[in-house]
């Protein structure tokens, strides 16, 4: 299992386009991927579910914890980390 804590810097948080890119990226991997909002300390939810990711209410500057488990766990964590740290491809 791999885990990382990452801060979301995007202005809208995990909503709209960033949320959609996050779920799309997670869905590319076979591993089980869970995510939770550390800042409001809620529960883990399925990172491949757009609805559940929205229920996390991740706003700008919130921190999220991502857990991946399975054959491509490290690759999945790496991809999600670079997506968030690269601010979802926006400068």
């Amino acid at each position: 299992m791999a885990e990382a804590t990452i801060q979301v810097k995007h202005a809208v948080g995990l909503h709209a386009r960033p949320a959609s890119l996050f779920v799309r990226t997670a869905s590319k991997f076979s591993s089980k991927i869970k995510v939770k909002n550390l800042t409001v300390n809620g529960d883990f939810v399925d990172a491949k579910s757009i609805i559940m990711v929205l229920t996390l209410g991740v706003l700008k500057e919130h921190e999220v914890v991502i857990q991946t488990e399975g054959a491509d766990a490290d690759a999945a964590l790496g991809a999600l980390r670079s997506l968030i740290e690269g601010n979802f491809g926006e400068a």
Partner: protein, 578 residues
């Protein structure tokens, strides 16, 4: 008072400007009733779900294509989001749970979407809570397909109508035909709801949040007037009211036409003198907005946003890319880049800010750049490199004496030498000027002209420093008066002194975009007006109505008054007479 008061007035939240006069079409979505029948096996029920989902996907793709064509990619993206919800594993998982305990897929779907929508609806943040409507919309679509009903939505409307509904889902809003929809009013919803945004894009008048019971007040065929600017709805207006709104509607439409025409042309005074109307811009996206509103250049490119969004100073490459993008958007039009203008009121974490009693009189703007030459040089290198092939200028903020200006210019020259030695391509002939925003600079323009290629009046700070007023302090903010005779004298003096030295003088403070100030500034001979992009069409239109001679008369009359109240009052009369 009228003898018979049959008309009734109601008020909601205005979300999209415009007036509509016409008959109501009450949109009440059909109740989808669940069939009473026994559930099949789990596999059978889930197979029905899969095929309904496929059908829904096709419908959503169709809606995406229609809206993309009608309003653009961004508006259409909501239907991409709906397709994502359609294949959401949490939705499918919940449905399967209910099916496994013996429910039909219809029952399971209704419960699953309700549960998920409630999770969202209960969230504190309005933006997230609003997504509950999307989940319901998707659920309703699948259910309708399972029940074998067609996608009728609003397609039943055949006459031009004002749509009145409890709420409009994104699917509903997308199926509005702008050719026969005069406008819409909903009981629920807010400024940021999807239907409100779509209405603005399509230019349809819209009012939301009219409150419960809206649909009891009207029925299909009721004649109403709606005003999307004020949020007013008038039911069964009398003839007088209708005539009055017809007039307002015609006036607004012709004024919009005039402004649109003015925005597209270069600004000219009534006697044909060119005046430059530019935009104040804080990021690349607003440069596009500026172009759309008819900006002839950027009179103030704020660069603070580049410095404040990170915990380390922005790299030269990052800045180069941002400047380059903005220069390219403006395609050859002049862009004045203001170097870093921050202070202790909004300190970035990587600069060693002292504790300051009064950050506006403290370590800020050019003072920081001169004390932190590496930070300053990085910005100058990025600007000079990005300026190749473009019409860029560099402007220093908050300069208050000649020594400061000479030192800043010496750093620009040093940066050019470094770039030359390193054989890096850069623009050698970028003009360098200053903002006139301290009274010291305003009274020293003739002296500063020795080292400044141009001047741009920053009237917000100039007013604050001249009047000794912090506009953020509610106790004294009413004393912040950019039309104060003292400020106007400094402005006139700056323009005269600059012109006497053969220098170009512009203005990038809020005053430049205020209609009550523009005739006076034009009379002073201001060369460039730089403002919020949205103020540009009105400014161009106003300038086109004034000759230079008339503007000079107005300016000299305005300067004869001793108080702001007299000046404002005089200008109100002038604007009404034009």
């Amino acid at each position: 008072m009228k003898a018979l008061m049959s008309e009734k007035n109601f008020k909601g939240i205005p979300v999209s400007d415009g007036i509509a006069i016409g008959s109501v079409f009450c949109y009440i979505p059909a109740e989808l009733t669940l069939p009473v029948c026994a559930a099949g096996t789990v596999d059978e029920e889930m197979a029905r779900f899969d095929s309904a989902r496929e059908r829904a996907r096709v419908e959503l793709q169709g809606l995406y294509n229609v809206i993309e064509k009608r309003a653009g990619k961004e508006e259409a993206s909501i239907f991409e989001a709906h397709q994502e919800m359609l294949s959401d594993p949490a939705l499918e998982g919940k449905i399967r749970e209910f099916v496994e305990i013996g429910q039909t897929v219809e029952q399971a779907l209704v419960k699953a979407t309700e549960e998920l929508a409630n999770l969202l609806a209960g969230m504190d943040d309005e933006l997230f809570a609003a997504r509950a409507l999307d989940v319901k919309d998707v659920g309703r679509r699948i259910l309708r397909i399972l029940l074998g009903l067609p996608d009728t939505a609003l397609s039943a409307i055949t006459e031009p109508s004002i749509i009145i509904a409890e709420d409009l889902t994104p699917s509903d809003a997308a199926s509005l035909d702008p050719n026969i929809t005069l406008g819409f009013i909903t009981a629920q919803g807010g400024l940021t709801s999807h239907s409100a945004i779509l209405a603005r894009t399509l230019g349809l008048p819209a009012i939301v949040g009219m409150g419960n019971g809206l649909l009891d007040k009207v029925s299909s065929g009721t004649f109403i007037v709606m005003d999307g600017r004020t949020g007013e709805m008038i039911i069964e207006p009398d003839q007088e009211t209708i005539e009055q709104y017809k007039q307002i509607k015609a006036q607004r439409e012709s004024h919009l036409q005039i402004l649109k025409a003015a925005a597209e042309k270069d600004a000219l005074t009534a006697n044909g003198r060119r005046v430059e109307i530019a935009a104040n811009v804080g990021e690349a996206a607003s440069a596009r907005d500026a172009m759309e509103h008819g900006a002839e250049g950027i009179g103030l490119l704020r660069t603070e946003f580049i410095y404040l969004e990170d915990t380390k100073p922005p790299s030269e490459e990052k800045q180069y890319r941002i400047y380059r993008e903005i220069f390219e958007v403006m395609s050859g039009r002049p862009v004045i880049v203001r170097t870093l203008d921050i202070g202790g009121d909004k300190p970035p974490s990587y600069l060693p800010f002292p504790d300051e009693m009064n950050p506006f009189l403290g370590w800020r703007a050019i003072r920081i750049s001169l004390d932190e030459p590496e930070l300053f040089k990085t910005q100058l290198r990025a600007i000079l490199r990005a300026a190749v092939g473009h019409h860029a200028r560099i402007m220093f903020p908050m300069v208050s004496d000649l020594d400061e200006l000479r030192r800043a210019r010496a750093i620009v020259e040093a940066v050019k030498r470094d770039l030359e030695l390193a054989s890096v391509e850069f623009a050698i002939d970028v003009p360098v000027g200053i903002m006139v925003e301290t009274p010291a600079a305003a009274v020293l323009v003739d002296v500063l002209a020795e080292a400044s290629d141009f001047f741009s009046l920053g009237t917000n700070d100039l007013t604050q420093y001249t009047m000794a007023v912090d506009r953020g302090n509610a106790k004294v903010s009413h004393l912040f008066q950019p039309l104060h005779p003292a400020v106007l004298r400094l402005i006139r003096q700056t323009i005269d002194a600059g012109h006497a030295k053969g220098k170009w003088v512009g203005m990038c403070g809020e005053l430049a975009g205020m209609t009550k100030a523009i005739p006076i500034l034009l009379g002073f001979g201001l060369d460039e007006f730089s403002m919020n992009p949205r103020a540009i069409p009105e400014a161009k239109h106003l300038i086109g109505k004034l000759t230079d001679e008339k503007a000079r008369e107005i300016a000299s009359q305005a300067m004869s008054f001793g108080t702001v109240a007299e000046i404002e009052n005089y200008m109100k009369g002038i604007l009404a007479s034009l």
